[in-house]
């Protein structure tokens, strides 16, 4: 939990000796609070103060890294209960589980499918974040072979899943340089699993039967020096997991309870009777405190909605997603289709694009860069004016895309019509409806 400058100041020597390079202890405390100075710069701080400040300055939830290389995953590191309080920082990871009992050809296909999956949304590209390998065969050699096959076919981070330390050891010996996470520490195997995690320097998942046991195991691991942990409280149902994951997040963030200060790992496929149920459970973990989400089915019809939901939940509420400036076709737009103008706030864009789509009239939607502001806000901030619109028309080369010279302006900025006619003398400026939902009606009346 972050301390304020005043809280830090209280435990400093208050001598204003300037040895840290700052004029006063209060100034030094402020720098410490902002993370811009190191406590070690103060030669006179007491050991007691050092311990209390170091404990308090650790983040409430550890950031855990899985994998090596460009696609490595970072999960956890959250500091909020609700996204509106600030933001959620590290998007929940969508991982696909493959079982070592499947035939090699099936495994290879599944790995290739997951690795090559890619989908675009609001100008960003997303894919699967990792592959979990489940040791269902009960055979350590088979588990290791499959881990090797999968590692050779993908650059995605791996999670090795087994409760058998011997099998885990065999698999780790083969693929440890990929820095896979291991999952399956429990009260029976915790000591051997800790040894493996330490030996290979990999993150470890712990399953506890309820919070009491989980806290004990997590404390034991951290005490042994394994601090890259993922926690599984064992709950699988929707209501139970909502309650226990909420409790864990509260313990970590609001109480500073160290044994719960780690990302979580969840399994929506366990206990789901259908694809829809798995999708709903995974969505629930995206919204409520799942850090790693291990799916048991690779289905784009589920993955794409989940990626979209994650984008919604993990978007910084202070920084709206923006569309790139451009001229976007809606439906099968042709050179004769209507040409509409709007701003680059993604919600504005999607609302209007949705209504244009629903109107059934193919059209063009030109997006001007207004730094993520909606139509009226951008207009009042001077970022959506006649000059900006005219410049976008030229930059995006609108005349090469459409035959006519008619532009439909948002009704809310009808006031720009006169200026635009001056800026674009060969264009006819039409004033569209004030509300996006009236676009369909407006087309029927005004566009023939």
């Amino acid at each position: 939990m972050a301390l304020t400058g005043i809280q830090i100041y209280k435990v400093l020597p208050k001598t204003n000796c300037k040895k840290c390079g700052l004029p006063t202890c209060l100034a030094f405390a402020m720098k410490l609070a902002q993370g811009q100075a190191e406590l070690s710069l103060c030669p006179d701080v007491s050991d007691e103060a050092r311990v209390s400040l170091e404990a308090a300055s650790r983040p409430p939830m550890r950031l855990v890294t899985i994998g090596a290389g460009a696609k490595k995953l970072e999960v956890g590191g959250e500091t909020m209960m609700f996204r509106h309080e600030k933001t959620f920082f590290h998007p929940a990871a969508l991982v696909v589980r493959i079982r070592d009992t499947a035939p090699d050809t099936t495994i290879v296909e599944a790995v290739q499918e997951a690795t090559s999956y890619s989908v675009e949304r609001v100008g960003m590209t997303f894919g699967i974040d990792g592959i979990a390998i489940q040791n269902d065969s009960g055979d350590g050699a088979r588990f290791a072979t499959v881990a090797q096959i999968i590692k050779d076919k993908t650059d995605l981070p791996l999670i090795l899943m087994s409760t058998d330390p011997a099998a885990m050891n065999t698999a780790l010996d083969r693929v440890h340089d990929a820095k896979p996470a291991i999952y399956g520490a429990n009260r029976n195997n915790i000591d051997q699993m800790i040894d493996l995690a330490k030996k290979h320097g990999v993150a470890m998942g712990i399953r506890g039967n309820g919070l009491d046991e989980l806290a004990e195991l997590s404390e034991k691991a951290a005490g042994a020096g394994v601090e890259s942990l993922m926690l599984d409280p064992g709950a699988r149902g929707l209501g139970d997991s909502l309650r226990v994951l909420t409790q864990m997040r509260r313990l970590a963030i609001k109480k500073g309870f160290r044994p719960m200060g780690f990302p979580t790992i969840t399994f929506p496929g366990e206990g789901a009777a259908s694809l829809d149920e798995q999708a709903i459970l995974a969505a629930h973990y995206i919204a409520k405190y799942g850090s790693i989400i291990v799916l048991d089915t690779f289905s784009p019809a589920m993955i794409y909605p989940l990626i979209t939901l994650r984008l919604n939940i993990y978007t910084d509420p202070q920084k709206p997603i923006q569309m790139a400036a451009g001229i976007y076709p809606i439906g099968n737009a042709t050179a004769d289709s209507p040409f509409c103008v709007t701003t680059n706030f993604s919600l504005t864009y999607f609302t209007i694009a949705g209504e244009l789509e629903a109107s059934g009239v193919p059209s063009w939607l030109m997006v001007c860069d207004t730094e993520g502001l909606s139509v009226l806000t951008a207009w009042s901030a001077g970022k959506f004016d006649a000059e900006k619109i005219a410049k976008t028309v030229m930059d995006q080369d609108a005349p090469s895309k459409i035959n006519h010279r008619k532009m439909i302006l948002p009704g809310r900025v009808a006031i720009l019509k006169g200026e635009l006619e001056n800026e674009l003398p060969d264009w006819k400026i039409l004033v569209g409806p004030a509300e996006a939902m009236d676009i369909g009606g407006w087309f029927r009346k005004n566009w023939t």
Binding site: S118, M302, P305, P317
Partner: protein, 312 residues
């Protein structure tokens, strides 16, 4: 080790709003004294209620949704019955034909439709106007008269026309649906205005607006969470139960409507469309929606299942 579970001590709770009575089933909405599902620290009140949307004229549904309802979409009474069989707890009737662009029907037609639906099913009813202020006033007044004594919900009751809707709710004993555009302050202010006119707090539902998955869901999600937190901290003007429209919002979007010409990474259209509606609803329910309006019968089944598991 015994972990001490952190409990939030909330001082406020969500209003309970009753629909129905008279000739139909009674249903109570709201009542939670904590956040969704967190029964270890307080009452979770009534589970989120599920309404199914029907229209008074055939809507522009995409094929997948249209075929789920078949020719029932041609007759609101038949449709209401079919919706009841599909598991609706409430019927949400939209007077779509009253829109000036969509038939421009008036008070007389609205009265007949509402009466037909009321006699077809014994479920509580929501009647929504076409969303054009002057037509809303006209048809909601007619609907209110036709449903006198049945305690239905009427909306949208918006800032520009809340007086008429509020007045008919007071005189005929109905519930007003106060609708504001994705803004917590506007939502609160409208509740205050509607309450000031004399609508009892137990007769207001609030609709802080719904964005579908990928289309502003995050705004709806966070506004609902903020309203719930304010309500639990005892802000009485945020304690109205919340109604959301995941069904209709989803089926307006390309991901639900379009089967061809979309990237293969979107997956099979039948599965994707249903999951789109289900995930929109799931997120809104987890944020705190007290009533969700749904469209596809299969999504209704999945969401009712989800709600019962959330509270199990």
């Amino acid at each position: 080790m015994t972990v001490e579970i952190p409990i939030e001590k909330w001082t406020g709770k969500i209003q309970e709003v009753t629909l129905g009575g008279g000739g139909r089933k009674k249903l109570v909405i709201g009542g939670a004294a904590t956040l969704p599902g967190l029964k270890f620290e307080g009452s979770t009140g009534n589970p989120t209620r599920v309404a199914i949307e029907i229209h008074d004229c055939e809507p522009q549904y995409p094929t997948l949704l249209r075929s789920a309802w078949g020719d029932a979409v041609k007759d609101p009474a038949v449709w209401a019955k079919k919706a009841a069989q599909a598991g609706a707890e409430i019927i949400c009737l939209r007077l779509t034909s009253a829109h000036p662009e969509n038939g421009n029907t008036g008070a007389a037609e609205a009265r007949v439709t509402v009466q037909k639906v009321l006699s077809a099913v014994d479920l509580p009813l929501i009647v929504m106007g076409p969303g054009v202020a002057e037509k809303d006033n006209l048809v909601l007044m007619a609907a209110s008269e036709a449903a006198k004594g049945e305690r239905i919900a009427l909306g949208p009751c918006e800032e520009k026309n809340y007086r008429t809707c509020a007045a008919v709710c007071i005189s005929d004993g109905h519930v007003a649906i106060a609708k504001s555009p994705l803004d917590i302050n506007l939502a609160k202010q409208l509740n205050l205005l509607v309450a000031d006119v004399g609508v009892p707090l137990s007769s207001i539902l609030m609709d802080p607006d719904t964005g579908a998955l990928g289309y502003g869901l995050e705004y709806a999600y966070s506004i609902i969470e903020r309203l719930k937190l304010a309500a639990l901290m005892d802000d009485s003007m945020c304690q109205m139960p919340i109604i959301s429209h995941p069904g209709p919002e989803t089926w307006r979007q390309k991901e639900a409507r379009t089967a061809d010409g979309v990237p293969s990474a979107w997956g099979r259209s039948e599965e994707r469309a249903l999951i789109w509606e289900e995930l929109t609803a799931t997120a809104l329910i987890e944020a705190g929606s007290d009533l969700v309006v749904m469209c596809h019968p299969k999504a209704v089944e999945a969401i009712k299942n989800t709600i019962s598991k959330l509270n199990a």
